[in-house]
């Protein structure tokens, strides 16, 4: 593996490159060096660029690769680009809480799904017991509602936090 994946893609060694920059660099090198080219391409360079792209694909991975690189190598002290004011995401819309519901499956998966499952099982089993013991009474829906309420209140902490929290 190339010790400097940024170099393999012809990019400056910076952790703040965008996904699009990395992808463009990879595509340019791939187009120029692919082994299927009529001139046979450059297999070694193509392989190195592919591996580097796989290594630098996400922001987190770029940060890691950068940290590894700067441990031993010379630091890059070229000036940073100014953060453009319009590069920031638009203001949060008021209906964002509703949109956040879409994150719930991922939050469950990244949280403690087993504990949530146990909680849900306990709540469901007790609800069944209540419905079996006091069917048709006013207390039955209240008890079941109370168990759901308990599940919601106590299960929140077993979910992973939403993004950027």
């Amino acid at each position: 593996m190339n010790p400097d994946p940024f170099d393999a893609l012809g990019l400056p060694a910076r952790p703040d490159l965008s996904d699009e920059q990395v992808r463009s660099a990879w595509r340019a090198i791939a187009a120029a060096t692919h082994p299927d080219r009529p001139d046979g391409g450059d297999l070694a360079r193509y392989t190195a660029a592919s591996a580097a792209y796989a290594q630098l694909r996400t922001p987190w991975a770029r940060s890691e690769a950068y940290a590894d690189l700067t441990e031993d190598g010379e630091p890059d002290t070229s000036p940073l680009l100014a953060v453009p004011a319009d590069a920031w995401p638009p203001p949060v819309p008021p209906w964002q809480p509703l949109l956040n519901l879409a994150w719930v499956p991922a939050r469950i998966r990244r949280g403690r799904p087993l504990r949530l499952l146990i909680r849900a099982t306990v709540a469901a089993a007790l609800s069944l017991v209540v419905l079996h013991l006091i069917p048709g009474t006013a207390a039955a829906p209240a008890d079941v509602g109370g168990l759901i309420w308990w599940f919601v209140l106590t299960g929140r902490k077993d979910l992973a936090p939403p993004p950027e929290r």
Partner: protein
């Protein structure tokens, strides 16, 4: 009165007392048995509070959270049989009917029917009983032995710590940012004077003011500070995105330096990227700043302060130095743009030429008078700026990144680190007051500032930050590290309106004094032999809100937050960005499968020529003539 009569009277009074007490207990037991569903919930609640070290308020709040269920039940009863009488009588009827079927199924049936009422009532009752128990033991009127208050407190502390650690392990319990822009720090162990919440969270404004963190090495200070930085950054960023403020700019001065600082910087950077930062610069390893961008007058003062100047007779040379610097930096042609340019100006020829335009005769005369000192001054600055390295020589400004992690080698090269700290705080001040750029809300955090505090006292940093509207967070390993003398230390700690975090420290007393005292009851019992007698006294005493002995024995990751005469002990949660933000590292294999090159089959090697049958065919036969 005869002795016999006195004995009879005494016996009668004793019996009367015991009878009244027994009857009272019997009545209470009867009520408790009669209201068994409520009692069952109360016992469960009481045991949970005892085992988990909860304060009574937690039981009250839980009871309050169950009231919506009770309200829902009342609505259903009202819909089915309108009129308040039916709602009022329903639990009583269910309870009375329960005594007709004293079987397990019958009792479960009755309990299920009464749950909407029994749960809030039982939890409230458990809260009252638990509150009374805590009061009785701590006031010295409960417990079996004289040491009961001490052992009760120690046992409860252990349980509270265990419960807090358990809560911290839950993935969603302590995020980087909570609702209302609050910064969660960790699970609450114990709150004294503050409102108790399961997770202790600070308002983001507290970080935007002045805060002090004191803790010995290895006490968990780094985790706490990184969490506060990330929380503040997330809160400020979200407020900016919602249009409620300016974008944040976090400047961290890691004044100790070394390899640890690099890994800390990397960790902070990852966390800030997860919190939404676009650029986190680590200075001087990967980014530069430009000292020469400072306004000329500020630059002249800063350059003067960066050099050690003596007092007494040496003040003469200090004055010459200042005059030369002022002339070099404020020359009519403009301030220097880099180190080389500045050093060039410290030559007699340059200075005299620069001020020889005919309009500055006084400065020209000064340049001539100082000419013989200029080589020395140039040498001193060449040495200083050479040691500072190129990281302050630009190009680069603080506005280019969302956060700057500045590593100063305060342990290895204190004098260089001090000069760097001065320059960086000046640059931060310039960024805060600059009218040209985008306004930013700033937090200047100085970790282990005592390593460089000789030349820039923390109190100056504080006062500077306050006047510029910058939040300042300062950490030190000990109380002594906060300042040169007690006056300065006290000034720093007492003006920390964002609060003081004390982690395990050998001498926390001066900081705990800030939390003040609280009134407690102290009960003395008369001992009869080895047992307590019936008589004793109770008096009001004062004790520390933040117990210094408790702080001295804090474990790693435990902190005491002191603010406005109250204290909260907290188990600091390790800061982690949401896993939904930080995507997992890609798999080891390349994303794009490398196709195998098309290879033509290797050509077969040419066949060996048909060899002669024998060497005689080549060389001829010996027999041949």
């Amino acid at each position: 009165m005869s002795v016999w009569s006195w004995l009879k009277l005494t016996m009668f009074l004793w019996l009367l007392r015991k009878t009244v007490k027994f009857t009272g207990g019997l009545l209470l037991a009867a009520v408790l048995v009669a209201a068994w569903p409520v009692m069952l919930v109360a016992v469960i609640g009481y045991l949970a509070a005892w085992l988990r070290g909860w304060p009574p308020v937690r039981l009250y709040r839980t009871a309050a959270w169950t009231l919506p269920v009770t309200a829902g039940w009342l609505i259903i009863v009202e819909v089915r049989a309108p009129g308040w009488r039916s709602a009022a009588l329903t639990p009583g009827r269910a309870w009375a009917r329960g005594f007709d079927h004293l079987t397990a199924a019958g009792l479960a049936h009755t309990f299920a029917l009464l749950l909407p009422v029994a749960v809030p009532a039982g939890l409230a009752l458990a809260g009252l009983a638990w509150g009374w128990r805590i009061y009785a033991v701590t006031a010295g009127i409960g417990g079996w032995t004289a040491s009961a208050p001490i052992s009760f407190d120690a046992r409860q502390w252990k349980r509270q710590v265990r419960a807090a650690q358990g809560l911290n392990r839950a993935p969603g319990a302590v995020p980087l940012l909570a609702r209302g822009g609050r910064i969660p720090v960790g699970a609450t162990i114990r709150a004294i004077g503050h409102r108790w919440r399961p997770v202790f969270a600070l308002p983001a404004e507290a970080c935007a003011r002045h805060m002090v963190v004191v803790g010995a090495t290895g006490s968990g200070k780094t985790n706490l500070m990184i969490r506060l930085w990330a929380g503040w950054f997330t809160a400020a960023l979200q407020a900016a995105q919602a249009g409620r403020g300016n974008r944040p700019l976090l400047i961290v001065l890691d004044c100790k330096g070394g390899r640890d600082a690099r890994s800390k910087a990397d960790r902070t950077r990852r966390l800030l990227y997860g919190a939404g930062a676009r650029r986190v610069a680590i200075w001087p390893d990967e980014a530069r700043l430009c000292l020469w961008d400072l306004p000329a007058s500020d630059l002249a003062v800063l350059l003067y302060q960066m050099i050690d100047t003596g007092t007494g007779a040496a003040a003469y040379y200090a004055d010459i130095l200042q005059a030369v610097l002022t002339m070099a930096v404020l020359a009519p042609c403009g301030p220097p743009v880099n180190t080389a340019g500045f050093l060039d100006r410290l030559e007699a020829k340059w200075l005299q030429h620069a001020w020889s335009d005919g309009r500055h005769p006084a400065e020209l005369a000064q340049a001539r008078a100082a000419a013989r000192h200029l080589p020395d001054i140039q040498l001193r600055y060449a040495t200083l700026l050479g040691r500072l390295g190129p990281a302050l020589d630009g190009p680069g400004t603080l506005a280019e990144a969302d956060a700057w992690y500045c590593i100063l080698e305060g342990t290895r090269e204190p004098s260089v680190a001090e000069a760097q700290a001065m320059a960086l705080t000046e640059l931060a001040a310039c960024a805060a007051t600059s009218l040209d750029g985008e306004p930013r809300v700033m937090l200047l955090a100085a970790d282990d500032y005592s390593a460089v505090a000789r030349r820039v006292p923390i109190s100056n940093l504080y006062e500077r930050g306050r006047s510029l509207g910058i939040g300042v967070q300062v950490s030190a390993q000990t109380w002594q590290g906060l300042g040169r003398d007690d006056d300065e230390r006290y000034r720093i700690a007492a003006t920390a309106d964002g609060g003081v975090f004390v982690l395990q420290a050998p001498y926390p007393e001066p900081l705990t004094v800030l939390a003040g005292n609280r009134r407690v009851l102290e009960t003395a019992h008369k001992l009869v032999g080895n047992l307590w007698g019936d008589e004793g006294t109770t008096r009001i005493q004062r004790t520390s809100v933040a117990d210094p002995d408790l702080i001295r024995h804090l474990k790693v990751g435990q902190a005491c937050y002191i603010h406005r005469g109250a204290a909260t002990f907290v188990q600091v949660a390790r800061p982690k960005a949401s896993p939904l933000t930080l995507l997992p590292a890609p798999a080891a294999e390349p994303l794009v499968q490398v196709p195998k090159p098309r290879r033509e089959p290797d050509p077969a090697p040419p066949a060996w020529p048909q060899g002669p049958a024998s060497l005689d065919d080549v060389f001829g036969s010996r027999d041949e003539p």
